[in-house]
C-alpha cells in the first residue's frame, strides 16, 4: 500500500541534485540563529556554539559583535579571537572582510546580520559581506532578528507598528545550510526591556511579542518543510508525511461550493496550513454550468486559495494524484455533485474517493 503512494525520481533530476551538492561543498556553510525579538538570547547561543567548536579544535574567529551584548555574552567573547569592526568617523561600523579573508579561519561568527554598510563600503549590506566569506570557503555562524527579514516585513510591521529599514531577503535564509530557532517566552524578552515590562503597555507589548514569536516559529517550520521535501525528492520519495495540514477543495460546475471553500479557508487559517481549490477541466459546459464554476473560482480567489484546473479522464484518479503530489492531508468534496441512480449503485465518485484515499482524510460537505 505504501508503495502505491511513492514515485521514483527521474535519474536526471538526481544527477542535477548531485551536481548542485558538489558545487555546494566548495562553499562555506551558513548557519543562522533566528530569534523573534531582541532579548531572546540569539547572540549568546551563537557565541556559545563558537566557543564549543573552538574547544573541539575548530579554527573560529568573531567577525562582528553587537554593541549591546549581555554580560554572559561578553564573558564568552573573552574566550574567542575577535577581529575588530572597522569604524570610520561616526559611521556605522563595518565588518573587516579583507582581514577575515586574509586570516581565513574555518568558521567566522557574525553577530547581527542585518546591518547596512556605509556608502563606499566593499558591499552595501552585511549579508553580502557574509556571502563573500561563504564563497571563499569560510563557514559563517550568524544571528538574525525576524523583523529584519524582507519578505516578512509587512507582516512584522503590522504587528510592531514600526518599520525596519535594514533588511535581509528571505531567500538568503532559505539558502542557509542550518537554521536554528531561538525561542523563549514573550515575558522573558520584556525582562531585557524593563521600560516596556511595566505599566499599561506591558500587556500590549507581550501580545505583539507573542505574535512575532508565532511568525518566527512558522517561518522556521516552512524552511524545515522545504528542506524535508528536497530531501525526500533526492531520495526518490513523493508522499504525504502530513507535517503540515494541506487542504484540497474539489469543486465542480454542478454545485455552489462557496460554503465549502469558506470552511477550507477557516481550517487552513486555524491549522496555519495551505489551501488549494481544484476542478477537472471539462470542455462542453452549458452557460449555467460555466457560471457556477466561475462563481466557485471567484470564491477561491477571494479566499486566497491556489486554484488549479486539472486535466484527465478519470476524475477520481486526477484528484487523488494531485493530492498526493501536493502532500494534501484533507480533501473536501461535495455530496451532491453529479450522479444518479446508476452511479450510486455502481459506486459513485465520492465512494471511490473515500475508498482509494489512503493517507488522506476525506471531508464530505452537504452541497
Amino acid at each position: 500500500m505504501a508503495q502505491s503512494l511513492t514515485r521514483r525520481a527521474d535519474p536526471d533530476k538526481l544527477l542535477r541534485f548531485a551536481e548542485a551538492e558538489e558545487q555546494h561543498d566548495r562553499r562555506g556553510r551558513l548557519k543562522v540563529f533566528l530569534g523573534y525579538s531582541s532579548g531572546v538570547g540569539k547572540s549568546l547561543r551563537m557565541l556559545n556554539e563558537g566557543r564549543r567548536r573552538k574547544e573541539r579544535g575548530e579554527d573560529v574567529v568573531v567577525g562582528a559583535t553587537q554593541p549591546s551584548s549581555s554580560p554572559e555574552a561578553r564573558e564568552v567573547l573573552q574566550k574567542l579571537e575577535v577581529i575588530p569592526l572597522r569604524i570610520v568617523d561616526g559611521q556605522q561600523p563595518v565588518m573587516d572582510v579583507e582581514t577575515i579573508l586574509h586570516r581565513h579561519p574555518r568558521v567566522c561568527l557574525v553577530d547581527g546580520l542585518a546591518y547596512d554598510n556605509p556608502p563606499g563600503s566593499r558591499n552595501a549590506k552585511r549579508w553580502q559581506d557574509v556571502e563573500e566569506l561563504l564563497q571563499n570557503g569560510i563557514s559563517v555562524v550568524t544571528s538574525v532578528n525576524l523583523q529584519y527579514i524582507e519578505d516578512r516585513r509587512e507582516q512584522v510591521e503590522k504587528i510592531r507598528g514600526k518599520s525596519a529599514t535594514q533588511t535581509i531577503p528571505e531567500s538568503f535564509l532559505q539558502m542557509a545550510d542550518d537554521i536554528e530557532l531561538v525561542d523563549a517566552p514573550a515575558a522573558s524578552c520584556l525582562l531585557h526591556a524593563p521600560e516596556l515590562a511595566e505599566g499599561s503597555g506591558a500587556t500590549e507589548e507581550q501580545k505583539r511579542l507573542s505574535e512575532l514569536r508565532g511568525v518566527a516559529l512558522l517561518l522556521t517550520a516552512d524552511v524545515v518543510e522545504h528542506r524535508l521535501e528536497e530531501y525526500l525528492k533526492r531520495n526518490g520519495i513523493s508522499q504525504t508525511w502530513g507535517t503540515q495540514e494541506r487542504f484540497l477543495v474539489w469543486v465542480t460546475p454542478w454545485a455552489d461550493a462557496s460554503a465549502m471553500i469558506a470552511s477550507g479557508k477557516r481550517n487552513a487559517e486555524r491549522f496555519h496550513g495551505e489551501i488549494y481549490v481544484a476542478h477537472l477541466a471539462e470542455p462542453d459546459l452549458s452557460p449555467a454550468e460555466q457560471s457556477v464554476l466561475r462563481n466557485n473560482l471567484e470564491c477561491a480567489a477571494k479566499a486566497g486559495a491556489r486554484a488549479v484546473a486539472l486535466d484527465g479522464v478519470d476524475e477520481v484518479d486526477v484528484v487523488l494524484q494531485f493530492a498526493r503530489e501536493h502532500s494534501i492531508t484533507q480533501i473536501f468534496v461535495g455530496h451532491g455533485a453529479r450522479g444518479g441512480l446508476w452511479q450510486r449503485i455502481f459506486g459513485g465518485t465520492l465512494d471511490r474517493i473515500i475508498r482509494e484515499s489512503d493517507g488522506l482524510d476525506v471531508r464530505v460537505f452537504p452541497l
Binding site: L5, E180, T203, S210, T220
Partner: protein, 384 residues
C-alpha cells in the same frame, strides 16, 4: 472546598528528539532563577551519562529518587511525596511522558506533576513532540515507531508556557556520532528509527508547528480574558467568535477508532470546537456484542475520556439513523468516522455505514479519517 493555594505554573521545554538540549536549557533557566534567590529543587533528572548535562546540574538541590521493587528488580522513580514535603517554589522534572513502574502511586509522571502543581509548586519539565497523543498515528507513519508513553493534548494545553528547544538535525546527528547522546552501540540502533535525517526533519517541523499553535492558543485565551474584563460594549470586532463547531466522533469496535478519536480531538482543538464521542449500542431486541468486541468498544470509550472527550452511549438498531438523529438533536456540525471496509461484491447491494451517514447527515460535514499506512523511508539512509 477550603481555600487552597493558587495552582503552580507549568513550563514545558518541547523538543523533537533526545539530545536537542531540552534538559540543558531547563537547567540553565533553573540556575538563573536560583541565582535570583528563588527556591529551586530538581525533582527528577535523567543524566543519560551526558557530560554537559551532568555538569550543569551541579549546585542545584536534588531530591533523592524513590526506590520501587518490581518483579525482583529495583526501579527509581521521582519521589513526589518527598517533594511535597520539601515544598520548593520551583521543581525541575525531566521526562514528562515517563510511565511509572507498576505499583507506583500514580501511573504516569505527568500525574505526579499534577499533584505538585495542585500544591502550588511551579514545575519545569521536558518532552518531545512525538509523545503528544494526537500525533501518535502520524509519527508512527513516518518513523515506524508506535510511541507508547503519550501525553494527552489537554495536559500540554494547560501548561502556562511551552518553549521550543531547537537544534538542526545535522548538529544533532553530529552529537550522536560523537557519542554525546547515547553510548555508541545504542546510537547505531537509534539511527534506525527516530534518528533518520528525514524523520528528524519531520519531527522538528511538527514541534515548531505545535509550539506555534501553543503560542497562538495562549494569546487567544489572553484576548478572551481581556474581552471579559473590558466593560460591556467596548469589545472590538476582532474578538467576536465565529459560529461554534461541534464535532461528533463515531465509536465502534473497529481498531481504527483510536486514530479517529485522536484526529477528531486534534481538529476540535484547532477549530476550538466542542467534541463528543458516541457509541450506538444494539437495541433491546438485538443479540449482545461478543465479549472481545465489547471490550474493544470499552477501551475506545475510555481512551476518549482520557482525552477529555465527552462520551455518550445511545441505543438503536439502525446505527446510522441513531447517530445522525443524536447529532442533529445536539447541534453537531461535523461527524468523524472511520472508513467501512467492504467486499467489492457487497458494494453492489448494500450501502455501508459511511454512505448511509453521509446521506442522512445532509446538513453536516462528515469526515472519513483515512487509514494511514507506514510510509516508505529511504533504505540507505543512516546517520553514519
Amino acid at each position: 472546598m477550603p481555600d487552597s493555594l493558587p495552582r503552580g505554573q507549568l513550563k514545558i521545554y518541547l523538543g523533537y528528539a533526545a539530545g536537542v538540549g531540552k534538559t540543558y536549557r531547563m537547567l540553565e533557566d533553573a540556575h538563573a532563577l536560583s541565582r535570583t534567590g528563588v527556591d529551586v529543587v530538581v525533582g527528577y533528572f535523567e543524566p543519560h551519562g551526558r557530560k554537559d548535562t551532568i555538569a550543569i546540574v551541579q549546585g542545584l538541590e536534588i531530591i533523592p529518587r524513590r526506590k520501587v521493587a518490581y518483579r525482583g528488580l529495583t526501579f527509581e522513580e521521582m519521589d513526589a511525596a518527598a517533594i511535597l514535603r520539601r515544598k520548593p517554589a520551583v521543581c525541575v522534572v525531566d521526562e514528562f511522558p515517563h510511565s511509572n513502574v507498576p505499583g507506583s502511586e500514580r501511573g504516569k509522571r505527568w500525574e505526579d506533576v499534577e499533584t505538585l502543581l495542585e500544591a502550588g509548586i511551579d514545575v519545569f519539565t521536558t518532552m518531545n513532540v512525538q509523545h503528544l497523543e494526537s500525533l501518535n498515528d502520524q509519527v508512527w507513519q513516518f518513523t515506524g515507531v508506535r510511541v507508547r508513553e503519550t501525553i494527552p493534548d489537554w495536559v500540554v494545553q494547560s501548561a502556562n508556557e511551552v518553549v521550543m528547544v531547537d537544534l538542526p538535525p545535522d548538529a544533532l546527528l553530529n552529537r550522536l556520532r560523537r557519542g554525546a547522546i547515547y553510548p555508541l552501540e545504542r546510537a547505531r540502533q537509534a539511527t534506525q528509527n527516530f534518528f533518520r535525517e528525514s524523520s528528524l526533519e519531520a519531527l522538528r517541523e511538527l514541534a515548531l508547528r505545535q509550539t506555534a499553535y501553543e503560542v497562538d492558543l495562549r494569546s487567544e485565551q489572553e484576548a478572551q480574558r481581556a474581552a471579559l474584563r473590558a466593560p460591556a460594549g467596548t469589545a472590538s470586532e476582532g474578538n467576536v467568535r465565529p459560529p461554534a463547531d461541534k464535532i461528533l466522533i463515531c465509536v465502534s469496535d473497529d481498531p481504527a477508532t483510536a486514530a479517529v478519536i485522536r484526529r477528531g480531538r486534534r481538529v476540535a482543538d484547532y477549530l476550538q470546537a466542542d467534541c463528543v464521542a458516541v457509541y450506538v449500542q444494539p437495541g433491546n431486541g438485538a443479540s449482545p456484542l461478543p465479549a472481545a468486541k465489547r471490550e474493544a468498544v470499552e477501551q475506545h470509550l475510555n481512551f476518549a475520556r482520557s482525552l477529555h472527550i465527552d462520551v455518550r452511549l445511545i441505543q438503536g438498531d439502525d446505527v446510522a439513523r441513531s447517530l445522525v438523529d443524536f447529532a442533529r438533536l445536539n447541534q453537531v456540525t461535523h461527524i468523524f468516522m472511520t472508513r467501512t471496509e467492504q467486499a467489492p461484491w457487497l458494494r453492489m447491494f448494500h450501502r455501508n455505514l459511511v454512505q448511509r451517514v453521509a446521506q442522512l447527515a445532509d446538513d453536516m460535514q462528515v469526515t472519513i479519517v483515512s487509514k494511514r499506512g507506514l510510509a516508505r523511508t529511504p533504505q540507505t539512509e543512516t546517520a553514519g
